[in-house]
């Protein structure tokens, strides 16, 4: 009857970012023979894995119709407490492996608690997510700076630092963790009741409520997941340098994470999103940085390119939808 069928064409929502990545990679390879060397590619993956992991959590938050600006500050706060706890454990005579366990446990707990705080303020406090996380962004950063007196916390644990720079089968540990989390969370978003609810809540909160979905719980869990992702990322980051810089760690990570999500095709207004898209988005950002470095563009100009790519990506998606 009236069912208007679309002519078959490339599903841009799903593959648009992949096409963009392929084009970028081809251009980079043409510009520099160094680009395609395995070591360089692995380096790009390692660099994007920290914000990529946060981007995974952010995918849930944004798909559920929210936003989280506090992730970078929370990463600094989480990393600081993890290293402090580990050093305290060492002072009490705990072995290095036990120290690592303490750090990981503290990071996951603090990350989750920070996410839960955001989630509670958004759902029970009925405050707009942008405002809530703008506030907690300032709070977490300020607490980290205060604790470290704007300096850094150095870990005394050599094992901790060596995990961060280790590789398994030639692939850096953070990359493995990124891929493993992406696999699990992609299934969660596409195949579980929770994932369906996240999209429902992001599409139309009223319909979700009228369908007896506990909207607050769904949104709360999204922030909690994002907090956990921050905990994982903060652990890996502090392992990488075996220290936490209270002012530098996670600086402007919220922008990179949100950018990866958006470039990956997740709708800013919620309802539609994919985990693998976010990974592609993160890698696109990494490839751009890499390419600009190789051709010798001033690092100060890299932000301009990044900004243009974000705006361009959303522009193309908009036009495709109309």
């Amino acid at each position: 009857m009236t069912t208007i069928r679309k002519a078959p064409r490339l599903d841009f929502e799903r593959f648009g970012s992949l096409v963009a990545l392929a084009v970028l990679a081809a251009a980079s390879a043409a510009l520099s023979p160094h680009f395609l060397q395995p070591q360089n590619l692995l380096n790009i993956l390692r660099q994007v894995s920290y914000t990529g992991i946060i981007g995974l959590g952010m995918t849930f938050v944004i798909t559920a119709g929210g936003i989280d600006l506090s992730v970078g500050s929370l990463a600094a706060f989480t990393g600081s407490l993890a290293v402090l706890a580990m050093n305290a454990a060492a002072a009490k005579g705990l072995s290095e492996p036990s120290g690592v366990a303490v750090a990981v446990a503290v990071a996951l707990f603090v990350g989750a608690a920070g996410g839960a705080a955001n989630g509670l303020l958004v759902t029970k406090g009925r405050i707009a997510p942008f405002i809530v996380t703008l506030g907690t962004m300032a709070i977490f950063r300020s607490l980290s700076l205060y604790m470290a007196d704007a300096g850094e916390f150095r870990s005394q644990n050599q094992l901790y630092g060596s995990i961060g720079s280790a590789s398994v089968l030639g692939v850096p540990v953070p990359v493995w963790i990124l891929l493993a989390l992406a696999a699990v969370l992609s299934l969660a978003l596409r195949r579980t009741r929770y994932g369906r609810y996240v999209r429902a809540v992001g599409s139309n909160q009223r319909v979700a409520r009228y369908s007896a979905i506990d909207v607050d719980r769904v949104r709360f869990v999204a922030y909690l997941l994002n907090g956990l992702a921050v905990g994982v990322s903060a652990t890996l980051l502090s392992m990488r340098f075996n220290s936490v810089g209270s002012s530098t760690l996670g600086q402007s990570y919220e922008l990179d994470a949100i950018a990866a999500v958006i470039i990956g095709g997740t709708a800013m207004e919620g309802g539609r999103g994919t985990v693998w898209g976010t990974i592609v988005g993160a890698v696109i950002l990494g490839v751009i940085n890499n390419m600009l470095n190789m051709v010798g563009v001033s690092p100060y100009l890299q932000g301009t390119v990044k900004g243009l790519v974000i705006i361009g990506a959303v522009f193309i998606q908009r036009r495709r939808q109309e």
Partner: protein, 502 residues
Amino acid sequence: MEKSFALLENIEKSFSTVSVLKKVTVGVGQGEILGLIGENGAGKSTLMKILSGIHEPNAGRILVEGKERRFRRPADAKAAGIALVPQEFNLCPDLSVAENVFLGAEPLAKGGLLDQAAMRTRSAALLAELGARIDPDARISRLSAAQKQIVEICKALAFDARLLILDEPTTVLTPVEIHALFALMRALKAKGMSMVYISHKLGEVKEICDRVAILRDGELVHEAPAAGLSPAEMASRMVGRELSEIYPEPAEVRGEVLLKVEGLSSPGAFEGVSLELRSGEVLGLAGLVGAGRTEVAEAIMGLRPASGRVEVGGEELRPGRPREAIAAGVGYLSEDRQGSGVIVGFSVNENETLASLPSYARGLFGPIDRRRERAAAEKWARLFSIKAASADERLEHLSGGNQQKVSLAKSLDPAPRVLIVDEPTRGVDVGAKREIYRLLRDLAAEGIAILLISSELEEVLGMCGRVLVMREGRAAGELSGAGLTEEGIMFLATGIKEGVSA
């Protein structure tokens, strides 16, 4: 059609490969009200979107006062004196009436600032001309649906519209308000205004229109003076076959009480509502818009804070727990399909299982059983003959009638014992209406207790053996048997003896 104000000639339009309009020729005379009817998807909306400049035709001509015009955008049509009063109002809720009337064409005072005074006096004059008592400074969000409609008409008049297209204007109005709208339309007509009136309510079409044009599958199948057409004939020409009985024979076998509501109150919405609903029964809940009927349904579902007692099959429901209401066996079809019923960006299948998903996945993070979910989709597609390319088709690509069927499937997927349907045939064409009535009848025959909330008296009378009427948040009375008449319902609903014939 020599004195046509506007004439659409051999209009053709297709979207991708689907031809929506096939050489349609139809005109509206000066000071004439043309009824435009047809099933959902017959091409009414597309035709009117072409006339109001939203779409461009693939072929054909548009003539206004004998001169050929080309409308590339809505502003072109507006300049030619054609204005559309859409079904969903295009008003900014936080701006005042005057600001909305002049939105996009604000008069400026010296120095480039807005001329607030001029806007106010001119909209006050227009409102007075329409006989409406609306304050030009009132915020849109404070107005009733009927008042918003008047503001939309006012907006059209402010730009010297000479042809008004009214798209389903009475869906959101009470009988009294419909009466007032018709009086207004007659007054405008006397001043030479031409109008196109799109509606599914055929009785109203006959009442207000001079001439009726009937579309079917993109073709103009009939055009005749309204005086010579009965609503039944309109309906059969729309569907292209004789419509036997729209309402299936009632075969009511009442069983045990399944839903018992005692002294239910929700502050600011309704008070002290009690009712009993038996297995196999279709109980009507009638009343004017705003009488509190939808709110009663929401309270039963736990979607709105309320005090009182709700029992389903003898078990008391705790208030404020929609999940429990569904688990206890209450299904709910919301009146506002796209606002709170279905998600248009979700697939047919995803919508159908949205309220019953806990039975497809163990735990919040358990995987959804896709095979069973698909099986459910197949069942509903078969049972309701839902027309969609596949169960993965997004709902936004379906016609209104099919969306409504999906919405109904969604409320039935948790296998309820009690089904509350709120305006189940709103915005749905005659053919789909008939199917929905049959479905409800079949469900009742299976022993499901149905609470039917409806503003269409004809529907309530055709479907229900017993009707509870609400007025201003209270149960005004109950009617059944010989006492169940249109006049009886209107009397209870308004408290006025003459009802609509006033």
